[in-house]
């Protein structure tokens, strides 16, 4: 089995990619403006919900329950969906999922597909697989379309083109839609997108979607969105294929009551999503007459097997942790090298890939805890980051200098005499670096600190020395 999370395996380490992003002032402006707006909207609609904490707890309980009984709920979903006329496929990894989907499209002799709301297909790199098979994928979610036309990558799990501003989007449209002229107003841009997409909705015969929830009890699939493009993508094609990560299962239809309150409030700051599409198998004479669900593992069962981090699978992909994260705020999403960015990305990507190629991600956090506080399903992201850091160190993937420094510190802190000796040694060792009581340059690993910060010299007398002196004086 080969697990793949987009092209995260080839991505540069987080500090390297982040440095590049930090130099892009336009990107940082765009990200900060957009996250500020979403965060404030979310705050308002969360604060007006009196039972917010109960809802969070309920969601946490439902998800924990599902994860304990995932196999049986998946089978229940399969049988209910099949009974309603759907076809359920099981994919162990990205390649298998892509193969299944390409085969379905081919069996209908189609050369084009329309897609909506499927980040999971970015995880499996479905678009390149379709293109390799001579099938053209058209993204129809507005932001995904901007990303596709801009030959760009998504930078946010809910707002994939968040890093682009209006002027940049206009430029992309002008070039890629081959327009002679285009206004500057949001209405002008949406009008252009509408004309561009409408033609595809009416022509293309196969649609591919993701899922927000898959309901075991009824075999239904649920997608929520703001634009209505999803609704068209889900209802107009003759054939619909939904790619669903196995963690998207919820037990009953009634459970939606919890999640449909939490998700829009946390994701876009709306009380309710403008479009909530829920469908069950096929309905003769209405909507797609052939429906496939591809249930994808791609490393999810590895996460499930780790008692300390399986909570990661509770994620409902609302993006609240990205909008609140002070690290994401500075770097945007691309620095994380994965379709899953921000705090949740820092724990999802390394775990799906069994830590290969993404050892720097668990360290891409100052552990400020804002993500845990914002998470509508109460995933303790900081705790999981720490667990993953421990795994990185356990595998010996930590830098050698750091390892030596921390082992030395552990030795020095293990006893009173050692600690006091280390304090004395540090006081002597700092001498060549101290000027006027301040250190403005440090070598090696610590150079980054003094690049923008001074450090005050270690004072002559430690607290313990002062205390000992005082004790002595009071006794004499």
């Amino acid at each position: 089995m080969s697990v793949r999370v987009g092209r995260a395996a080839e991505a540069p380490k987080f500090p390297v990619a982040a440095k590049r992003a930090l130099g892009d002032t336009q990107l940082r402006q765009n990200v900060q403006n957009a996250t500020d707006i979403i965060r404030n909207k979310c705050k308002r609609v969360v604060e007006e919900t009196p039972d917010w904490e109960q809802l969070r707890n309920a969601a946490h309980e439902i998800k924990s329950h599902v994860m304990r009984h995932l196999a049986s709920y998946l089978e229940e979903f399969e049988s209910a969906c099949t009974k309603a006329g759907g076809h359920v496929h099981w994919a162990q990894d990205a390649d298998e999922a892509n193969r299944i989907i390409v085969d379905i499209v081919r069996s209908h002799g189609q050369k084009e597909v329309i897609k909506v709301k499927t980040m999971t297909s970015d995880e499996t790199q479905l678009n390149p697989a379709l293109e390799a098979a001579g099938i053209a994928p058209h993204e129809t979610d507005l932001a995904d379309m901007i990303v596709q036309l801009g030959e760009d990558k998504p930078s946010h799990i809910v707002v994939p083109a968040l890093h682009r501003n209006r002027a940049e989007i206009r430029q992309i449209f002008l070039k890629k839609m081959k327009l002679a002229e285009l206004g500057f107003q949001p209405q002008d841009l949406t009008e252009a997108a509408r004309r561009y997409l409408r033609e595809k909705f009416l022509r293309v015969k196969v649609g591919i979607s993701g899922a927000n929830f898959a309901i075991a009890e009824t075999g239904s699939v649920c997608v929520v969105e703001s634009e209505g493009n999803g609704r068209m993508c889900l209802t107009l094609p003759e054939v619909l294929i939904s790619l669903v990560g196995i963690e998207k299962i919820i037990p009953t239809f009634r459970d939606l009551e919890v999640f449909l309150q939490l998700l829009p409030r946390s994701a876009t700051g709306e009380r309710m999503n403008p479009y909530n599409s829920i469908w069950t198998g096929v309905t003769p004479g209405s909507g797609p007459q052939e429906f496939h669900v591809v249930l994808l593992d791609n490393g999810r069962t590895n996460i499930l097997a780790d008692a300390q981090s399986k909570e990661t699978l509770h994620c409902i992909r609302c993006g609240a942790c990205l909008n609140i994260c002070p690290v994401y705020r500075q770097t945007g999403g691309h620095a994380y090298g994965s379709i899953y960015s921000g705090p949740i990305g820092a724990i999802v990507t390394p775990q799906l890939q069994s830590m290969e190629h993404s050892q720097s991600l668990p360290y891409a956090s100052s552990l400020c805890g804002a993500c845990y506080e914002a998470c509508p399903v109460k995933i303790n992201i900081p705790e999981i980051l720490l667990h993953l850091r421990d795994k990185v160190v356990g595998k010996g993937d930590d830098p050698v200098v750091e390892r030596v420094a921390l082992k030395a510190a552990a030795f020095a802190l293990a006893g009173r005499r050692r600690f006091e000796a280390a304090q004395a040694l540090a006081r002597i060792g700092q001498r060549p670096l101290v000027h006027d009581g301040v250190i403005s340059w440090l070598p090696g690993l610590l150079r980054g600190w003094t690049a923008v910060r001074d450090l005050f010299a270690i004072p002559k007398q430690s607290f313990r020395q002062w205390w000992a002196e005082r004790e002595k004086a009071s006794k004499s």
Binding site: F14, P15, A18, K19, L22, R28, P326, V327, R329, Q330, T331, P362, Y363, A364, S365, S366, L367, C368, G369, A370, E383, L386, R389, D390, K391, V393, G394, E402, L406, K407, A409, A410, L413, A414, G415, R416, F419, Q423, A426, S440, L445, R447, G448, W449, A451, V452, R453, D454, L455, F456, I458, P459, Q461, S462, F463, R464, Q465, W466, W467, A468
Partner: protein, 249 residues
């Protein structure tokens, strides 16, 4: 009341004036203090960097040293958060029921400095005088882990002469995050730049907090930029009295 100090390794070494201020405030309130010289570190740096194995003996050391102590005062919210958030899990993972019992019995006796004053000792006015314009950086662990919100403000509100000015986005992380500031120095610097921007917009003279780790980080930038603002641990403000300001640098 008899109060035992856990001054923390970096306060002991780098910020002895904070420890002295804590002593001064608590002794002025009539309490008896005790400092065990065998104390070193809570294990936070190791635990947060992925060296959980190395943090374990430091927890054992702390448990052993403070086993029979009635009240522990720690002038650092992130160290208290380390204990409250992680010691129970570390004890559980150790598989040793005795350690688990020790952690359970010890944690209720652990108090962050402002928590000790406001909740346990029920004091808000410590008789301080500090005629300066001050702004408060509400450090991440103090608000999200210890839920201290309001306590430092109450204490500062009772300091005579002090003007407390609101810090925009005071709950945003300053970018320190322990080894984060070294491993991700550039991102940390960007976060710090935003914090400094907000701080300077207040036109305060002093930025205070209940964590010297954040303050060391913030002051590092303020000093480098000759920004005309400096940092002080909250205990040092509370220890300031009219005539003779012993605890200023």
């Amino acid at each position: 009341m008899k109060i035992s100090l856990f001054i923390t390794c970096y306060n002991d070494t780098l910020f002895p004036e904070t420890g002295r201020a804590v002593v001064s405030v608590l002794e002025c309130l009539g309490h008896t203090l005790d400092f065990h010289p065998g104390q070193t570190c809570c294990g936070q740096m190791h635990y947060n960097t992925g060296y959980q194995k190395e943090a374990l003996p430091l927890m054992h050391r702390f448990l052993e040293m403070y086993r029979d102590v009635e009240t522990i005062c720690i002038p650092s919210s992130s160290c208290v958060a380390m204990m409250r958030d992680h010691y129970p899990k570390m004890a559980e993972q150790s598989g040793n029921p005795e350690i688990q019992t020790q952690v359970k019995s010890l944690l209720p006796r652990v108090h962050e400095f402002t928590e000790l004053l406001v909740d346990k000792l029920q004091v808000e006015d410590v008789g301080a005088f500090f005629p300066h314009k001050v702004t408060l950086h509400t450090s991440c662990h103090s608000i999200r882990s210890l839920h201290l919100s309001g306590k430092p403000e109450k204490l500062l509100g009772k300091v005579r002469g002090l003007t407390l000015v609101d810090l925009p986005d005071s709950d945003h992380c300053c970018g320190f995050g322990g080894t984060f500031s070294i491993k991700n120095a550039d991102v940390s610097a960007a976060m710090l730049a935003e914090k400094v921007q907000h701080l300077l917009s207040t036109r305060a003279e002093i930025c205070t907090a209940v964590d010297n780790s954040c303050l060391m980080h913030i002051n590092g930038a303020l000093h480098r930029q000759r920004a005309g603002m400096r940092t002080m641990h909250l205990a040092e403000i509370l220890a300031s009295v009219e005539r003779g300001n012993d605890h200023e640098r």
